[in-house]
């Protein structure tokens, strides 16, 4: 370890549980943080500050105004920019001796193995069940541990899954949640500091795993309630070999009922990006208001199967309707028909005037 590094980590080196050996483990560790949002921001800052040598940031999202109260790597000037670019730049500036890599893409069944196979540990900082089940499945297949963190309003959960013979996420929650019970922070609201606490706990578990400390949360699920300031640890069930063997044997895929943030996009993001060359209105032809001028196709949802040949599956596609309901269904339909990158525009045309007001 070079002298300047020794000085940076001096206070950590004094800890018996870390020491020079532990710090060397941290500096040579490779970690993937999936999601650079509410959980990802604190996790990334703490992992880098602790000296995790190689950090891969994976997120295809862009910064929006409503992110700023909890995603403190970003500021108002970053709105519309790729989160990965801002986070990478920030961490590089703070810790130029670390290898910070950014991947401005959402995790998908197609890219998951490529993105994860080269790292030692995965941190699940995503915000939807589809990504969480996918992370579990790819980690089971590649035999990688992952640090799970998730929040709901004032509550949080943390655990280390798939560490050796420990439980996987599917061992604890085998059934995929129904669509109506899949809230995320944009829908339910969240106290800004909560993901800060849970993301910090995830970074703590990651550091413990890398260094090899005792007390890893690989045999229990930690739950936290910010209102009661109450923490409890519930012992995880034993690894379900039948479930894990099935996951290992199957091809990676999205859960058929999934409709996640990877399948949605807000107007703000869409208009800041020139990535989406097909923008499809799936309302009935007679519906008003008129389609915005950037619309490339008008195909009513009920006719989508019939006229699907008008669309090119390899071109990034955004779909909207009046409220976002039909476009979500259309997104699933197109995804099942082989469209690689297709997004439903959140809240549809109902959200467009509100966006214009915010910027006027």
């Amino acid at each position: 370890m070079i002298e300047s590094n020794r000085n940076i980590y001096e206070k950590q080196l004094l800890l018996e549980q870390v020491g020079i050996l532990g710090q060397k483990k941290l500096l040579s560790a490779k970690v993937a943080v999936i999601g650079a949002g509410g959980l990802g921001c604190p996790a990334l800052l703490h992992l880098a500050a602790a000296g995790v040598g190689e950090i891969h940031i994976i997120d295809g999202d862009r910064v929006s105004l409503s992110n700023l109260h909890r995603q403190f790597l970003y500021g108002i000037k970053d709105v519309g920019q790729l989160k990965v670019d801002i986070a990478q730049e920030h961490l590089n500036r703070q810790h130029p001796h670390l290898n910070i890599q950014g991947y401005s893409k959402f995790l998908s069944p197609e890219n998951a193995k490529g993105l994860i196979s080269g790292v030692d540990l995965v941190i699940d900082c995503t915000d939807n069940f589809a990504a969480r089940y996918l992370i579990n499945d790819v980690c089971v297949q590649l035999e990688k541990p992952f640090v799970y963190g998730a929040i709901f309003k004032f509550e949080g959960q943390v655990a280390v899954f798939n560490h050796g013979d420990s439980s996987s996420y599917r061992c604890l929650f085998p059934e995929y949640p129904k669509a109506e019970n899949q809230p995320n922070c944009s829908e339910t609201g969240v106290l800004g500091i909560l993901p800060g606490i849970i993301g910090t706990m995830q970074a703590t578990e990651a550091i413990k795993w890398i260094v090899g400390m005792e007390g890893l949360l690989d045999s229990s699920l930690l739950t936290y309630n910010a209102i009661q300031q109450e923490i409890r640890k519930i012992n995880l069930p034993k690894r379900n070999l039948e479930i894990c063997s099935k996951v290992k044997a199957e091809k990676l895929r999205w859960h058929p009922e999934s409709c996640n943030t990877d399948s949605s996009i807000e107007w703000e993001m869409l208009l800041a990006s020139d990535e989406f060359k097909q923008i499809v209105d799936v309302r009935e032809l007679e519906e008003t208001p008129q389609s915005p001028e950037f619309t490339t196709h008008k195909i009513p949802f009920g006719e989508l199967n019939k006229f699907i040949a008008q669309l090119q599956p390899e071109i990034p596609t955004a779909i909207y309707c009046q409220s976002g309901f039909r476009s979500e269904k259309a997104t699933i339909l197109l995804r099942n028909r082989g469209f690689e990158m297709v997004r439903s525009i959140v809240n549809g045309l109902d959200a467009l005037p509100k966006l214009k007001e915010n910027y006027s």
């Binding site: 699940d124 069940f129 998730a150 709901f152 309003k153 019970n181 922070c185 409890r232 519930i234």
Partner: protein
């Protein structure tokens, strides 16, 4: 004689049931917890969740078991 046990609800389940805990009376015999709780709260059938008996995930409440609490825990999605 029935067993009186505190049952705690978390996340969206607490929100849906509009309560975070209650005392329920369980029969003395060994029972499967999910069907028992879903009989009392049919809304639970909509959710994915696991149940913990005195901080151990378990699907059953055994005969002569007198836990202090039962936790009904759904996964959270947010991040």
């Amino acid at each position: 004689m029935a067993r009186e046990i505190s049952v705690n609800y978390f996340g969206m389940i607490a929100e849906k049931l509009n309560k975070s805990s209650e005392i329920l009376s369980f029969p003395d015999s060994s029972i499967a917890l999910k069907p028992f709780l879903e009989d009392i709260h049919p809304n639970l059938k909509e959710f994915t969740y696991s149940i913990a008996v005195d901080l151990e995930f378990s699907e059953t409440l055994n005969e002569k078991e007198y836990p202090k609490k039962i936790d009904v825990m759904p996964p959270f999605a947010g991040g």
